[in-house]
Symmetry: C2
Subunit: 329 residues, 2 copies
Amino acid sequence: MRDVAARAGVSTMTVSRALNEPGKVSEEMRERVLRAVREIGYLPNHLAGSLSSNRSTTIGLIVPSIDNSIYTQTVKGLSEVLKSSGFQLMIAESGYDPNEEEELITVFLSHRVSGLVLHSTEHTPQAAEKIRKSGIPVVENGNIPREPLDMVVSFSNYDASYAMTMHLGRLGYRKIAFASLYSVHNDRSQDRLQGYHAALRQLGLDPDPRIVLETERGLAAGAEVMARVVQSVPEVDALFCAGDVLVVGALFECQKRGWAVPGRIALASFDDVDLLRHVSPSVTTLRLPRYDIGERTARILLSRIMDGAEHLRGSVVDLKFELIQREST
Amino acid sequence: MRDVAARAGVSTMTVSRALNEPGKVSEEMRERVLRAVREIGYLPNHLAGSLSSNRSTTIGLIVPSIDNSIYTQTVKGLSEVLKSSGFQLMIAESGYDPNEEEELITVFLSHRVSGLVLHSTEHTPQAAEKIRKSGIPVVENGNIPREPLDMVVSFSNYDASYAMTMHLGRLGYRKIAFASLYSVHNDRSQDRLQGYHAALRQLGLDPDPRIVLETERGLAAGAEVMARVVQSVPEVDALFCAGDVLVVGALFECQKRGWAVPGRIALASFDDVDLLRHVSPSVTTLRLPRYDIGERTARILLSRIMDGAEHLRGSVVDLKFELIQREST
DNA sequence: CTGGATTTTGGTATCGGTAACAATACTATT
DNA sequence: AATAGTATTGTTACCGATACCAAAATCCAG
């Protein structure tokens, strides 16, 4: 930058202004500076800029696991909005471990990110304290937590799970099994389970621990769950797979065993991946606002960061989901 | 940091060393400093550190599209290795546009990333020039380009496509259709197409432009391609879907129409997603070293950055793929 | 044409660290 | 015990930008 200033015969301050606040510099100066920039091939140093101005243009994002396709839409939403405002995304994965998350938060804070997006809503007390102390805005967006750190943009896993279970009940299913991913350190899973139970109560159905299962991700796990449930509790007439692509594994298993869907057993899922519309029978599921979550998250963060919109602190955006009835129920 | 130094009664230099080069500081000092750090709740400022030392611990990654599950494994490999060395990942998407990519490279360079990972291997001349000028190490990992910018960690799309086409030929298929994603600004698609053609020549089969199609991503596109190919050229006996989950859409379409797979038509795919093993018939495909690519990319980058391993400049790591024969062919 | 208001430009300190070298304390050797 | 050698700590300058305030240039009404 020194070189640019020298070449253009102006001070570094003028160069800085020409680049960042073009309005505050005369037409002539601006052109002179820009020409010098081009001639020298000058590339501003963002680190120096951020350090000096005490503002940064990076946002930290922590997801439980990067190789999980359900986040990709959200990340895309985030990324697109942030990019249009010149912000950069730093991404890391916590492996569903709150301590790991705390560590990553520390790292991001030391990188002076100007905002944080957390997919998990379970945090260590120290993590919460560090964030509070740093004063930067945070958005949680995997769930609607009982005690938000700050802002929230999400749908309610509880409501969604409740809605689907109620839907199954209204369709006349009476022995509704429930499969989810492991709920340890996964409040999304926990809330889905609770929504399921609440709906059962509402429907006047008795909970049966034999048909409530937790498993790992993947098609094989879904198939395994399907087989186990039907064999241990033959009177089961529906299976609600509240996670990942479990339902597809379950469906394949039914096809293999010759169990009619929904004749023998109905199937419902949680996330509307493209696949569910194309399999046969097509699968009843919930359409979740994955992309919107990312987009809104970015917008609300940027409002806080750029416009200092303090009135948004602590705001909770509960985005709606949609239940899609298809052939499998 | 000033505060920490004061509290511990030492100079800032000693604090800096205690934190970053513990070996160069006496046991006693180290403890004194660490205690002060804890008491004050001091968080180092990475921006300042990087600026001062002219080293950073961030790596820039540019993928064509974030919401594409084929990258997630690679990103995971990258992320895990980088994290273990304290490096951070900045991710952005170029939307398959080289100009956009150039823009992002510029941004990353101004953030002083210490390395770049590019999934695309098609770049603007200016982008190449900027990278060269910056002197930072780069890894391309979506393909093996004819003229690498610097280092490459990938499998060969050409070889993989060639191998699968040859495989189909050896199995006796004579009218092999080929479907890929649009190849404009997508050298991976282009190379796959060339590999296909090379194999046809080797097999002594005539190319037929009517059965070489490009389409968009998604199941619907795969289904559409399937229907179109069979109807326009009934003698087709195999379809090689060289991209995304096209093959699944194609398979569903066959099931819907009652076309036996592989009786009426054989199906082969490019990427071994979990699904292909579980559908019926299971689908012949290529197992690509997605995770390994990320891992190796990270390792080779770190060698260059931390150990200054200049002998690695320009090295090309051609990771092997594996052809998995299943029921569909 | 002049004085004050306004716009444009520049000088200097500073952001929070680290590099490079200087100074001091400690060890080992003869 | 003296000296060279090594380990530890401190001093100072600087990384590359921006904030803050001062100075110069421009504008405009009276």
